[in-house]
């Protein structure tokens, strides 16, 4: 098979992903056109698009996105870095793992949204509580994936490091962390994804800006078009973040691609 033909197939593969969303859009528009639902409840896609453009034009949307992203960033950095270090330590020391591992696993089972009232009680209603809430969402995927990655570095590589007298720092940076990297990157991806979900949740409680705030406020005024526009924005941003991380992942984990016939 020639290379250009292969490329065309890949391109077609990507096109396939658009078919179902297009069908949904068509079904959505026809449901409204056929008056199956009231336009008040199910706003037609074109109206949502117009609303989106309007929101973008006034700058409201950008401001809300920026304030949401700021919260996500601080919450993610706080939660993911804590999760990373704890996961790393647990992966390195089975003693620590036995001490805190079960506790963390148990905590993960608690629905984190249930913690929001407590967090507000402890940290107040303003920014801090939101960042703390997001960081809890970011923490769990990071701690588990890092732990799994570090403890999953095969024994044969640890033994090799021992044979060559690798000590602490060199051992960590040359053997453990690179070996755990695929898992760590998966952790970052899930962690960031959850942060983005949690920010919208956090903004439902006493907020004055953000995409979640925009949606809550619109719902109260029964501006369903804005609610739907908000949903769309959340989806697109979450999707984009995931794609960016996947590109980084591909770059960083070049060594994982299997033999591609380049040297045949």
């Amino acid at each position: 098979m020639s290379k250009s033909l292969l490329k065309r197939f890949e391109w077609k593969d990507k096109l396939l992903a658009f078919i179902v969303p297009l069908l949904v859009l068509v079904a959505w528009q026809s449901a409204v056109s056929l008056q199956l639902f009231s336009e008040m409840i199910l706003v037609p896609p074109l109206t949502v698009m117009n609303t989106l453009v309007d929101l973008a034009r006034t700058g409201d949307l950008t401001n809300n996105i920026i304030s949401s992203l700021k919260r996500v960033l601080s919450g993610f950095l706080l939660g993911a870095s804590t999760g990373f270090f704890l996961g790393l330590l647990m992966g390195l020391s089975s003693l620590l793992d036995r001490f805190v591992g079960p506790l963390i696993k148990a905590c993960k089972q608690v629905p984190q949204f249930a913690l929001m009232p407590l967090i507000i009680l402890w940290f107040g209603i303003d920014e801090v509580s939101k960042v703390v809430f997001i960081s809890i969402g970011a923490f769990f995927p990071m701690v588990f994936n890092t732990y799994q990655g570090v403890s999953g570095v095969p024994k044969k590589y640890r033994e090799l490091a021992r044979v060559f007298n690798y000590k602490s720092f060199r051992y960590l940076t040359k053997v453990i962390l690179p070996g755990a990297l695929p898992s760590i990157i998966t952790g970052v991806r899930h962690s960031l994804g959850l942060s983005w979900m949690f920010v919208v949740g956090a903004e439902l409680f006493g907020s004055e800006s953000g995409v979640g705030y925009m949606m809550v406020w619109a719902r109260q005024l029964f501006q369903i078009d804005i609610v739907m526009a908000g949903l769309f924005v959340i989806g697109i941003i979450g999707f984009t973040m995931n794609i960016i991380l996947q590109i980084i992942e591909k770059r960083v984990l070049r060594w994982r691609v299997s033999f591609d016939g380049r040297m045949a």
């Binding site: 044969k156 021992r162 044979v163 060559f164 007298n165 033999f259 040297m263």
Partner: protein
């Protein structure tokens, strides 16, 4: 023989593991002295403790009875005077071939490292593959890279734990020749653990035969042939059948007749 470095003396060495709360003796009263620059093959059926013996010399198993001495000093842990090639190549998949070869080098400048890596890639015939990743190499090539990594530190003793065991027959024979060439070039002690009788004879100055449960040295056979050796020569075959006899694999009544 010149008194070089890298003399290995093993005296009254025994080792047992605890399996299900019971001690299991894997090595019993092993005695052998390997002079510097020798090539010694250790052969035995699986479970005879040959790999354990190698791991003791390497310094990965430290809890043993008796003496294991290198240049008169008790082995207490891994050290760069010993190199190892495992059966699985154990190249780190996230490092390039060049970086893998440099893996054991410590405290060398970038330039020195570069020179050592190039030199050893050339020695094992892998020049041009420096920036390839291990996943792009064939089994034989990966094992060459592993040999280069083990030699980069200039060890006095190179331990080979069934290094060619996972290669196909043709590649294996080719790699045996390569190992011999590298040994003649480096002039260091090499200890090869294998279960391939032909390989043991082809490469060894001595073939150590071990038997299992507990692992003891059954016989040490000197291989006096000049190198390179002819696998199909009469003498070669004779030693081969002598060794196979030790494993009760000899032909009981060789019967040849011609008209």
């Amino acid at each position: 023989m010149s008194i070089g470095k890298g003399i290995l003396e093993i005296k009254n060495l025994s080792k047992s593991f605890i399996v299900d709360n019971n001690p299991l003796q894997v090595l019993n009263d092993i005695n052998i002295t390997i002079p510097p620059g020798n090539f010694v093959s250790i052969i035995g059926s699986s479970g005879c403790g040959k790999t354990t013996l190698l791991r003791i010399v390497l310094g990965l198993e430290t809890n043993y009875e008796g003496d294991a001495l290198i240049d008169g000093e008790q082995i207490e842990g891994p050290g760069i005077n010993r190199g190892i090639v495992f059966q699985d190549h154990r190249l780190l998949p996230w490092l390039t071939v060049g970086e893998n070869v440099a893996f054991g080098l410590d405290g060398k400048s970038r330039k020195e490292t570069e020179v050592i890596v190039d030199e050893h890639l050339k020695l094992v015939g892998l020049n041009g593959f420096k920036s390839a990743y291990p996943c792009q190499l064939s089994g034989g090539m990966a094992q060459r890279a592993a040999i280069a990594r083990a030699l980069a530190n200039k060890p006095e003793i190179l331990l080979l734990d069934e290094p060619l065991g996972s290669l196909d027959a043709m590649t294996r024979m080719h790699m045996q020749k390569e190992l011999e060439r590298i040994w003649l070039f480096e002039k260091i002690t090499m200890i090869l653990v294998t279960h391939d009788v032909e390989e043991a004879i082809y490469l060894g100055d001595k073939v150590v035969i071990m038997s299992s449960r507990p692992g003891v040295i059954k016989k040490i056979i000197d291989i006096p042939f000049t190198r390179p050796r002819d696998r199909s020569s009469y003498e070669f075959m004779q030693i081969k059948s002598e060794i196979l006899e030790e494993f009760h694999l000899g032909v009981e009544h060789p019967f040849i007749y011609s008209i």
